[in-house]
Subunit: 199 residues, 2 copies
DNA sequence: TGATAAGCGGAGGCATCCTCCGTATGTTTC
DNA sequence: GAAACATACGGAGGATGCCTCCGCTTATCA
């Protein structure tokens, strides 16, 4: 009775996952990220498996749906952005730190763009994803921004939400092939604009 | 030399398209609209052909790519909205006319939502589409709005661009299954809000 | 009422999706 | 360290979709 609770009792009696399995999951994730990034969200799942060096069956066991794979990739990228923000806290020039972080973020938006289209049908999945991730990103960005403001290197009339919105806006402009380069240029201009107005 | 100009000379020597062909194109378009509307933009093209009662080859001759089909459907819907606005010019209650038009527009956004994702890769196609369609919609909406303002039934501090933006905003909220119903509710509230403030 | 250009159908080649199960390999226990 | 067991892997295979190609049908024009 107390032996078969929902997803293991307390000090559960479940074997820990096999080490190779974890390694493999990691390799699949890396391959997926690479392919989604430049092949778009319609990249073939078989191609992902092949690139990672596995059979298609393996991919499907780890990620039973395309959506599950997307979610995992996106979460992972968000984690890394949060970690990056952490590291950048000690960067000499706080405005430069902000710039670096935003540039890194462009990559994540590249993933997310495709995801929105793919996740939409699965009502709720996208929301759950956002609800979890967005505040963490706002926090991370907010810390970088606040530091820049406190050190007198950035104006204080924009919040992290505004910056994030601007970032997405830059990335969504048109369907151009070079949107990425364009977004990075715009970002540069924007960060320059964040400098406090010379009195 | 003057015989083979770009797309026929003047009083060109081209047979007019076969009557059945035009009819069939129409049926294909109707089927496509229906399937895209509730099946999303990934609806199978074979399903479209089947629903229209044709072989797949016929669909491909009329619309050589999925994108071409989308464009045709979207243009058509825009045409109808413009025509609808025309008809509503004489509607008794101008604010009600506006409401009716906006409700009809929700249907079109349903199509466009999917299109954005699909057209994005084909750099420029989406832009060309917008460049052509948007101003016509703004005009149509502008006429309805102006009339309501002139007759003292609507406040005068919002333009057609604002209303259109609001409309899109309502439709893009979340990935919910019931977004359509939700959008219609929000629209109602919005139009009520357009009434001039009671003095 | 032919002659002929235009349109139609759908088989077929190729790609992808996803499932299923026999084989292989980590993990645990003694 | 070896047997026993639970897990993970591979990839064939059936289903579906994309798109092309070409022989047959039909509307139009003289």
């Amino acid at each position: 009775m107390s032996e078969e609770e929902e997803g293991q009792p307390e000090g559960a009696r479940a074997r820990r996952p096999r080490a190779d399995s974890l390694r493999n999951r990691e390799r699949l994730l890396a391959a997926a990220r690479a392919l989604f990034a430049d092949g778009g969200p319609d990249a073939s799942l078989e191609a992902v498996a092949r690139r990672a060096g596995f059979g298609i069956g393996t991919l499907y066991r780890h990620f039973p749906t395309r959506e599950a794979l997307f979610l995992a990739v996106y979460q992972r990228e968000a984690d890394e952005l949060v970690a990056l923000a952490e590291r950048l806290r000690d960067h000499e020039d706080p405005l430069d730190a902000l710039r670096l972080w935003l540039r890194a973020s462009v990559g994540m938006v590249a993933t997310k763009k495709g995801m929105l289209a793919v996740l939409a049908p699965a009502a709720g999945a996208a929301d759950a994803l956002y609800a979890d991730t967005r505040p963490r990103l706002i926090d991370a960005l907010g810390a970088l921004l606040r530091r820049a403001v406190d050190m007198g290197r950035a104006r204080d009339d924009v919040g992290p939400e505004d910056v994030l919105r601007a970032l997405y806006g830059f990335c969504h402009m048109g369907g151009e092939a070079h949107w990425r380069a364009s977004a990075l240029r715009l970002l540069n201009v924007f960060v320059d604009g964040l400098r406090p107005a010379a009195p």
